[in-house]
Every structure is written in C-alpha cells, then in structure tokens.
C-alpha cells in the first residue's frame, strides 16, 4: 500500500495528559517520503505538526505507531535526523561559525576539521564575512541561514524544518525559499517541511500533506504537478493557482467542521 521510502511514518498516535484529561495530539498519522523528496506538511496551528517532528527527531516517544528510516525504527533515537526548530536557537555567546559547527562538535569532530568543512559552506551560501559575528548582530534572515547551515553541516540524509521562515517578512522569505531550494538541489537531502503558508508549500514541495486540526491527522496528500527547477513566475501560473484553490478549500473545510 505504501511506497517504499526513505522515511515511513506508520500509524503514529500521541496522547498526553493535561489536567487529568487525555488529549489526543496525533491520531493515526502515516506519511511516506521518498529519498531526496521535498515534502511539506500544512495545517492549522495546533494540528500536532511540532509533536510529529519531535517524534521523528527521536525527542518524544509516540503512544503507538512507528517511524522507520532506512529500513529500521528510529523511535527514541535522537540525532538520527537533522532538525531545525522554529526559532533559530543560535547560542548567543558563540560566534556564527562556532554555532554552525555545534553539531560536529557534539560528535567530537576536531574544531579545525569542523571549521574547514563549515567555512566553504558559509562562503557559498551567503554568510561570508559573518563568521566572527555574534547572532544578535545578524538579521532574521541571516540567522535562519546560519541555523539551516548548522543543520546541514550536521550531515544527515533527512532534514526536518519546522516553519523556518515563519517570522520573516515576505521579501526575505522569498529569497530564503530560493536559497533553500538551491541547497536542497545541491545536497540531495530528504526534506520534511512544516509551514502555514500555502504558497510556500506549493512552491517548495513535491508532495504536500494537509493536516486536520486537533487531533492532528492526515486529511489528504497532494502531489505538486509543477516541474523543477521552479521560478518565481511559477507562483502565478494556472496550475499553481488551481492547486492553491484546492488547498484553501481543504484547509477551510477543516475549520468549518470544527
């Protein structure tokens, strides 16, 4: 039934206790993501997207279900996938380069070697000249770049990005989206992306999972028919608009039933 994929989330449920009441956060969620795909999850706030990411990242145990990557379960295995949190979470007392090599440092890669790997990346992806700066000296977009490079340098085949551009203004957001597509193209990672923004989901993804609100579950899976490489012009093309229309309807239907 499911395609054989790099990441296979099967029938994951998550229930937690709040004031002696069972709250169902995720209900029978199944995703299947092929190698090197860009897959987005879109849904209203409180649909358990972050909970799902924490489960895939191995930081949270599901109540039931399984997460399989590369043929084995990664439940409770922190550090198996690269995970970029909503906030950039750069450590304010570290310079940008020291922030970016944090993942390597934790794996005991010598600092010299880590920097030798980080510096070309920083140069290539728009952080040249900011190596010795501290995070508070950078703009929001630059900080997100640094946070993403940190995840990238951690060097996992699978990357989870939780609303990385949510706090950016529209213009910065667009340039960051192109920047992200460039990186995804260059490195061939499997990306699982959470967003609130329909345009962003369509522009970036191969597949889009639409989630329903609490308890979070998959309402439908949509494949984006637009060819790659995509340009900003695609955002106003008929297939794009059609898909946007469908997605809006799906999301609104969710709100109407509540």
């Amino acid at each position: 039934m499911h395609e054989k994929g790099k990441v296979e989330v099967t029938d994951v449920c998550k229930t937690y206790q709040k004031n002696d009441q069972n709250v169902v956060s995720l209900s029978h969620v199944s995703l299947s993501i092929k190698e090197r795909q860009f897959v987005s999850i879109i849904g209203p706030s409180g649909c358990g997207k972050s909970t799902l990411f924490n489960i895939i990242a191995g930081l949270l145990l599901p109540t039931s279900g399984n997460v399989i990557a590369d043929g084995h379960s990664i439940i409770g295995r922190a550090g198996y996938v690269g995970y970029m949190l909503q906030k950039d979470m750069l450590l304010p007392w570290r310079t940008i380069e020291d922030n970016i090599i944090l993942g390597l440092e934790i794996r005991d890669v010598p600092k010299k070697e880590a920097l030798a790997r980080a510096l070309p990346l920083m140069e290539r992806y728009g952080l040249k000249g900011f190596e010795k700066h501290h995070p508070d000296e950078l703009s929001g977009g630059m900080r997100q770049r640094a946070a993403l490079l940190r995840t990238l340098l951690y060097d996992r085949d699978i990357m989870l990005l939780d609303e990385p551009f949510g706090a950016l203004d529209a213009q910065t957001r667009l340039s960051m989206q192109n920047w992200l597509l460039q990186i995804w193209h260059d490195f061939g990672k499997t990306v699982l992306f959470v967003t609130h923004d329909i345009d962003e989901a369509i522009y970036l993804s191969d597949d889009i999972y639409v989630f329903s609100p609490r308890p979070g579950s998959v309402r439908s899976k949509i494949t984006v028919p637009i060819k790659r490489p995509r340009t900003t012009e695609d955002m106003t093309s008929p297939p794009f608009m059609e898909l946007k229309h469908d997605l809006l309807k799906l999301l609104n239907a969710g709100q109407a039933t509540d």
Binding site: A78, L91, I106
Partner: protein, 299 residues
C-alpha cells in the same frame, strides 16, 4: 522658587534647542560642508565630566575640612570624633611601627579566600540542580532557609569549632557567600530556554554536553552578577569573625582599640576597612569584565 523653576525650564528648553540644533547641523553638513557647529556634543561631554570631577573634589574637601575645623574650634568633641589629621597621623604610626600591614593582609586574605571558595562551590551547587528536578525540589526550601539564616550569628559556634585562627574567618566568609551564589546560579539554571536544550538533544548531545555547552554558559551572567554582592558579604563575615575572637586582622584592631578607648585607632580601622572594601570591589569589577570576556568564548 518661581525664578528657580523658570531658570530650570529655560535650561531645559535651551538644551532641547541644542539637540535640535545638532540634528540640523548633521543634516545640514551633508548639504553645506562649511556650516557652523551649533552644538558640539564632545565638548559638552568633556565639560560635564570636568564639572563632575571638580564637584566631587569640593564635596570631599568640605566634608573632611569641615570635620577638622569643627573639632578644632570645639563644636565636636575630639574624644569621640577624633579628627582627620589625628587619624592620618595614627594611620602613619600604625603603618610604620605597628602591625597594620599584617592586619590588612590577614583580613583581606581571609575575605578573598572565603569569597573565592564560596563563589566557586556555590556556583557548583546551583548548577548541579539542573541535573535532577527532584533533587532540586528537595533542596530548594532548605536553600531558602539557609539563605534567610543570619549566618553571622553562627560566628561563636564556628570559632568554638574551628578555633580563633585564620580558618574560622575564612569559613564565615565562605558561609556568607556560598548560599547566595547557589541561589543566583540556580535562577540562571531555571531560566535556560528549553528549546535550546531540545536543539542540543536533536543534535545527538548527551546530557553532560547540554550541561557544558548550554547550561553553564547560559547561567554564567547570573553567577557573575553575584560577585559584587559576595565580596561585601565575605568582608563582613571576615570582620565579624575577627570581632568574636582573633589575634590578628583589622576587625580585631577595631575591637581592641575600642576596649582601650583609643578612638583614633577605631577610626583608623573604619577607614582602612572602607578603603579595603573599595579596592576589593574594584578588583571584582575587573574580574567580572575579564570573566564575561573570556569565559563566554570558551564554550
């Protein structure tokens, strides 16, 4: 009253004018390079700094000069109040022929030792609460009780336990600082952003790595801010220790001078302790600067 108020008002508006004048020159300087400077901020600052320095000097001279004169003309009784010239003379005698240098060394030695050990172990204790919520929960009320306890009242017990020598003073200074530092460090630990810990775990970090790379550097500013309070507390501890029973130290000198009614010498003690306190405070400010510059870069 009204004239003073008006004057103040006038001054205020004139300084406002000065500010807008500065803004104008800034914009004007783009268009007219040779524009006359209406408000020179640097010169104003220099002037103000000079005024402050001069003012401070005048206040000092008036205070000490007034004291001297009031004693000389007999308004203040020299028996109780001594006078600056007599205090200076006694200080000189104590420094050259007495044991004042030794006393200063003794008091500052016990203060600094108590301060360093108290701050260090207090910080360790406070940071250790990160490792276990139940351990922290059990310890917290006791920490608060210990903090509220007037530790100086324990002085006599400590002197009995540890003798009248150097160690009882160090321990009193230690006790004065250890709990406050622990509380400061603990509030630092409690304020660590959980998302930052999540990030570290998502990068596969072990608990000790989260502790080293996030918890310690995050809490450092809290620990550093306890230093200024601690040095004063440590000095108070050391002095009270000497008051209770000691054969050396500035505190002992003051008590001794009091019992033989040598008021000049009491005043010498008071001044020496104030200067000691100021010097150590400045030392701590320098230490703070050094720590925040170097320690945060290590992690």
């Amino acid at each position: 009253m009204t004239s003073a108020g008006e004057k103040l008002h006038l001054q205020k508006t004139s300084s406002d004018d000065g500010k807008t004048g500065r803004v104008q020159t800034e914009t004007a300087s783009v268009r007219l390079p040779g524009h006359r400077i209406l408000y020179d901020e640097k010169a104003e600052q220099k002037k103000r700094r000079l005024q402050v320095r001069l003012g401070r000097l005048i206040v000092g001279v008036v205070l000490f000069g007034g004291w001297e004169i009031l004693v000389r003309v007999g308004v203040l009784d020299s028996y109780y109040w001594s006078c600056p010239s007599a205090i200076l003379k006694t200080t000189w005698i104590q420094l050259t022929t007495g044991s004042l240098w030794n006393d200063i060394l003794y008091t500052s030695g016990s203060t600094i030792l108590g301060f360093l050990t108290g701050t260090f172990f207090g910080a360790l204790l406070g940071l250790s609460f990160w490792w276990s919520k139940s351990y922290a929960g059990i310890s917290e009320p006791y920490l608060i009780i210990l903090n509220a306890l007037p530790k100086l009242a324990l002085g006599p017990v400590l002197v009995i336990l540890f003798g009248i020598g150097f160690s009882s003073k160090v321990i009193l200074a230690f006790l004065m600082t250890v709990i406050t530092t622990a509380l400061y460090a603990y509030s630092g630990v409690k304020s660590v952003d959980p998302a930052m810990e999540t990030l570290l775990y998502s990068l596969g970090a072990k608990r000790y790595q989260v502790f080293n790379k996030v918890v310690v550097p995050w809490s450092l500013p809290w620990i550093i801010s306890s230093l200024r309070v601690n040095i004063a507390l440590a000095l108070a501890g050391a002095i009270v220790g000497e008051f209770i029973a000691s054969s050396h130290g500035v505190g002992r000198m003051v008590i001794y001078a009091g019992t033989i009614l040598d008021i000049n010498l009491v005043w010498v003690g008071v001044f020496v302790l104030s200067i000691l306190s100021m010097v150590m405070y400045c030392g701590v400010v320098l230490l703070e600067k050094w720590l925040s510059k170097h320690l945060t870069n290590i992690h």
